[in-house]
């Protein structure tokens, strides 16, 4: 029983780590086609089951903006509070392309390893 618990813990921990590693790339992907405001980013990530709570996202977006990967502006909305729209800067676009390669390489490596393990 104890073993199962620790096993589940390990899975959960690895999953969190993997998702966190991926999250930057995922945000870059979401913003690839233009301006998106925060709530939409959250909705998309949640639908993709990449985040559970939103808390983690705000600091990440803020850091990416500070690193000049994202640009943002506030826009008044017809009803409700103003919205913060994000889009990719040139640096962001470059990083998104780089990470795409990185991700696919990683994906291939894992596929190869998995196949090797099955044999």
């Amino acid at each position: 029983m104890n073993e199962t618990t620790s096993n589940e813990n390990l899975v959960a921990q690895s999953e969190i780590q993997m998702r966190k590693g991926m999250l930057t790339y995922c945000i870059l992907l979401l913003l690839k086609d233009g301006k998106v405001y925060t709530t939409e980013i959250i909705r998309a990530l949640r639908e993709a089951e990449l985040i559970v709570v939103e808390g983690t996202l705000y600091p990440l977006l803020s850091r990416m903006a500070k690193d000049k990967l994202l640009a943002y502006e506030w826009q008044e909305s017809g009803q409700g509070p103003p919205r913060k729209y994000y889009w990719l800067t040139d640096e962001g676009k470059k990083l998104q392309a780089d990470l795409k390669t990185t991700y696919h390489k990683l994906h291939d490596s894992i596929k190869t390893l998995e196949k090797g393990a099955e044999k």
Binding site: T39, T56, Y58, L61, P81
Partner: protein, 436 residues
């Protein structure tokens, strides 16, 4: 029903119930501790407003506690807002429980309260044990003072959490801080079972404090009286040239008085500390005081050991013995002063006197008639007359009755008969073997 407040959240006006308002404020404060960026905070607040609107809080609908719960479930716990990315808020294991003095719930120094937190028992039990320990030999006081000195006080919120064995996290810290705000009010409103007993404990401590203060003051006055006497009578305490004689003995006496004065001051301070439930003077002053007392005591003891034999010799030089032979008697009767009468086995009948200084012994009559030795000291003045105060102020007369066999003691006065306490030296056949 709950009171409501108007608030602004993410540039929007809301009506919120007071309990929900408190919860929301705590939550935002906890997030503020994690997020230093104002822009991010504003975004979070905007998002909260948006979530609430989506959740059906429109118009003048009141935000309730359950809505805040919903916000939390969407946004996550404050530690989720950390920027480090990789590590979620570090959680110290709960077994890192440490012993602290709990001064928030203290009566004296928080030792008992801290111990109760550490062992997870009621503080009353610990206090009872201390009281029992104080009245069984007094070692409870020693243990208490030792713990007072050795165990640190829980000063910060995280130390208070460690004291209670709770993990130190952002949310638990927030909780402690929030509780500390109401701690003062809770103390004042302490009407529970522990309330009257705590009051009783405080009263007991205050009474002990008063006893100590009075003890110290009377010691101080006694010393003052003695010192002024020595000053007035140029320092001859015994009326004879016995003590103090010479510089060394005067130094010994003065040092002894000085140490006693410091000691009585310490006793008074101790009493005040019990009364005020706080050590009233600075630590370094305490250190100097205790240091002076220790050094002074050591000096006094060393000088005393040097001086004592000389004083004893001088005292012994004033001791005399005289002896009167008497007719045979079988009974001894004493009337008059309360003098010590002993019996000693001898071959002849006699009465011997041991005394200090020069009493007029002719006023003690010893007459034998009808086989009865009458010792009449009613004319005798047992008080010495000295120019100053005399210590001892009597001649310390000891009468020893000598006869071949122990006589019967017959007391003329109402006083205790002085029983023969010097039995004849036992002969060999009378001694019992120690081992069978």
């Amino acid at each position: 029903m709950n009171e409501v407040t108007k608030i602004h959240l993410g540039r929007q006006a809301f009506t919120i119930a007071s309990d929900a308002h408190k919860e929301l404020r705590d939550y935002l404060d906890a997030i503020k501790d994690q997020v230093k960026d104002k822009d991010v905070l504003e975004e979070v607040e905007l998002r909260m407003a948006e979530l609430l609107t989506e959740h059906g809080i429109v118009g003048d609908k009141v935000i309730l506690l359950k809505d805040i719960k919903f916000l939390k479930s969407q946004l996550g716990i404050p530690s989720d807002f950390t920027d480090d990315g990789d590590s979620p808020a570090e959680i110290k294991p709960a077994d890192s429980k440490r012993l602290f003095r709990d001064t928030d719930n203290a009566i004296l120094a928080g030792v008992a309260a801290g111990l109760s937190k550490y062992f997870g028992v009621d503080v009353l039990l610990v206090r009872m044990l201390f009281v029992i320990a104080v009245f069984t030999g007094g070692w409870g006081i020693l243990i208490y003072i030792a713990l007072w000195l050795l165990v640190p006080e829980a000063k910060t919120s995280s130390e208070r959490l460690q004291m209670a064995g709770k993990p130190v996290t952002v949310s638990s810290l927030k909780e402690t801080v929030a509780r500390a705000d109401v701690a003062g009010a809770a103390k004042r409103a302490n009407k529970s079972l522990a309330g009257p007993i705590n009051v009783m404990f405080k009263l007991v401590l205050k009474s002990i404090g008063i006893v100590f203060i009075l003890m110290g003051l009377s010691l101080l006055f006694a010393l003052l009286a003695m010192a002024s006497y020595v000053l007035v009578y140029t320092g001859n305490l015994f009326g004879q040239d016995i003590f103090p004689v010479g510089i060394r003995e005067h130094v010994f006496l003065n040092l002894g008085v000085a140490v006693s004065v410091l000691l009585s001051v310490l006793v008074i301070i101790f009493g005040i500390s019990f009364f005020k439930q706080k050590w009233p003077i600075k630590t370094w002053i305490t250190g100097i005081l205790v240091g002076l007392i220790l050094i002074g005591t050591a000096g006094t003891i060393a000088l005393g050991a040097d001086v004592a034999p000389q004083v004893r010799d001088r005292y012994n030089a004033h001791l005399h013995t005289s002896r009167r032979s008497a007719q045979p008697f079988t009974t001894v009767q004493a009337i008059g002063q309360d003098l010590t009468i002993r019996y000693q086995s001898a071959n002849t009948y006699a009465v011997s006197f041991n005394y200090f200084d020069n009493p007029n012994l002719s006023n003690i009559k010893t007459i034998v008639s009808n086989n009865t030795l009458l010792i009449d000291s009613s004319q005798f003045n047992e008080r010495r007359s000295c120019p100053d105060l005399c210590i001892p102020d009597t001649y310390n007369v000891v009468i020893t009755v000598e006869s071949p066999s122990p006589p019967l003691f017959n007391d003329g006065n109402d006083m205790q008969p002085a029983l023969p306490d010097k039995s004849p030296t036992p002969t060999l056949d009378q001694t019992k073997p120690i081992l069978q």
